[in-house]
Amino acid sequence: MLSRFQISALDLRLSIMAGVLVTMAVVFHLLSGQFITAENLYNIAQQTAVVGIIATAMALVIVARHIDLSVGSAMGLVGVLIAWLMYTKGWHWVPASVAGLAVALAVGLYQGWLVAGLGVASFVVTLGGLMSLRGAAFLVASGKTQPVADPVFLMLGGGLDGAIGPRLSVLMALALSAWLIARTLQRRRQQRGHGLTARPLWFDAAVTLSLCAAAIVFALAMSAYRIGDKPEGQGIPVPVLVWAVVVMVVSFIVNRTRFGRYVYAIGGNPEAALLVGIPVRRVMLQLFLLLATLVTVASIVAVARLNAGTNSLGTNQELYVIAAAVIGGVALSGGSGTVLGTVLGALVIQFLESGLLLLDVDIGWRMVIVGQVLIAAVVFDVLFRRATGERVA
């Protein structure tokens, strides 16, 4: 039956995860009475964005059998640098952000060269990065907090004025829906054009329409949240919008470009990738640069959210980013994982944190539980792969 609908193990896994998220929301709501509220969902969406943005590229790094432990510290360095350029040096936020990106790319180039060019284990290179980039973040402003006040920049972090309003939110959800429908129709047409069998029409329609419904419900929920006596609801927060764009761009790279395919090929069989003529080193270097770019985007959002850059920005974020990727189904053995999975993985962690907080579970227990959920997700992963006939390395 699965093959008639062309449901891959991946689609199945994503559906199960979406089901887990819904179940978590309902259970937390029943226990706390206030999980499924506009305010809580708004905050969760906004808080997940920073981890979610980096997790999309981290997934690809892990797919290619590498790891980057330095993303949290890199966030600290880039974030405090941008804030320092704005506050202490008086730069406009645009050149400051470009300078931050340049530094992130330089770090990515250096680490990527050590890994791809010299063949040093990425675990070691980025463990060193984890330590020294945190130190560099301290050196930028001698450990002093750098407040930022540019109102346009602060919108990037969400907050009071950092949402796009109800009208635009619903419009975007509708635009996304139209695009999803158009894409499904185009795929069916192309499949017919090449003499390939398409899925049953009702099935394609059901999948596409439920995704559209999810987008519209999300936009409406965000729009229902009002802060104080503002006349209008908030709508989709800017960080979530940024995250959505990142997810779409990275998904496009994965599914539609040679680079994306080569990342998976390298993860699936590095030796074969070399034998068929894939430029493995170049692909790995580009991958580290992609990650550096998204780390910059995430640190801009994080600085704008906190209204300041500090040298401790992003502390422990690498753990959450890797956990989001792993819970989202990225295998550390390489070769498998999806961008959409990291979205769900990041949300699972944030649902858990937020739900436990609403239930007044104290920090010690929260950490214990999140850690065990990470393990549970990997156990599920191992069993799922076994059940779907994927050999476990």
Binding site: Q6, G195, R258, Y264, A265, A273, L275
Partner: protein, 258 residues
């Protein structure tokens, strides 16, 4: 007397201090099957990886159609029409059959993005030629049978119109049905003028398919012979002891006709 399609002249390749291949010369002609024989570690696979561009050669020369060519990477070899079916098959297990066929040489749309539908329909056609029953070409190749995986590896050579085809133990993991498929394919390609280099331990395969055979030992050639001139005992003697059978002259000259 035909010109060699591809010839290796005095090729050497060392790894650290180990001389994997030393001063080896072989040639394959259009429509000819050359069997490359020898123990594990005799240097066959290394020699072929030099020709396939996986290992750059240390010294020596590769000539195609009479002129010297530079092969520094698999891409160089592919551009010259040299295709290789590796013993390990060189498949990315997590990708499907279509992606594996085109791996490294994907078809692109005019926007530079992957043209998955064009690749899928082209792949279906190639797979149908090799095995009409092979349908599940959109699942990861890890879930395919040994024969189907072999089809995927072979399809690369077929789709990209190999002029020279290197086959490293193509039948080692196959059942009788699939072995016959490989034999048929070799004969078809041979009739089309493709030059085939066959690495095999299987004597019946070698004698059924090859026109000439070249025996290697410790990185050097023991000798090259017309398959019709030797028997299995003589060949085994050369592989094991590295000595030429009495009364038989090696015909290693490059312009040697078949």
């Amino acid at each position: 007397m035909t010109d060699a399609l591809v010839s290796l002249h005095g090729v050497s390749k060392a790894f650290g201090g180990v001389h994997a291949v030393e001063n080896v010369s072989v040639a394959v002609h259009p429509g000819e099957v050359l069997a490359l024989l020898g123990h594990n570690g005799a240097g066959k696979s290394t020699l072929m990886k030099v020709l396939a561009g996986a290992y750059p050669l240390d010294t020596g020369e590769i000539r195609m159609g009479g002129s010297a060519v530079e092969i520094r990477s698999p891409v160089d070899a592919q551009a010259l029409g040299i295709e290789t079916i590796y013993q390990t098959l060189a498949l990315a297990d997590n990708l499907d059959a279509v992606s594996n066929l085109f791996l490294g040489r994907e078809l692109l749309t005019r926007y530079g993005t992957l043209d998955d539908y064009a690749m899928e329909s082209a792949a279906r056609e190639v797979f149908r030629k090799l095995n009409p029953n092979f349908q599940n070409i959109r699942v990861p190749v890890r879930s395919l049978s040994g024969g189907q995986r072999q089809v995927v590896a072979i399809s690369r050579a077929l789709y990209f119109n190999a002029r020279v085809l290197i086959m490293d133990e193509p039948c080692a993991a196959l059942g009788p049905e699939e072995t016959r498929m490989v034999h048929d394919l070799v004969r078809t390609l041979k009739a089309q003028g493709v030059g085939i280099i066959l690495i095999s331990h299987d004597m019946p395969d070698v004698f059924a398919l090859s026109d000439r055979l070249c025996v290697m030992k410790n990185g050097r050639t023991v000798g090259t012979f017309r398959t019709a001139d030797v028997d299995e005992d003589a060949v085994l003697g050369m592989i094991i002891a590295g000595r030429l059978p009495s009364g038989l002259e090696s015909c290693t000259r490059m312009d040697d006709s078949r």
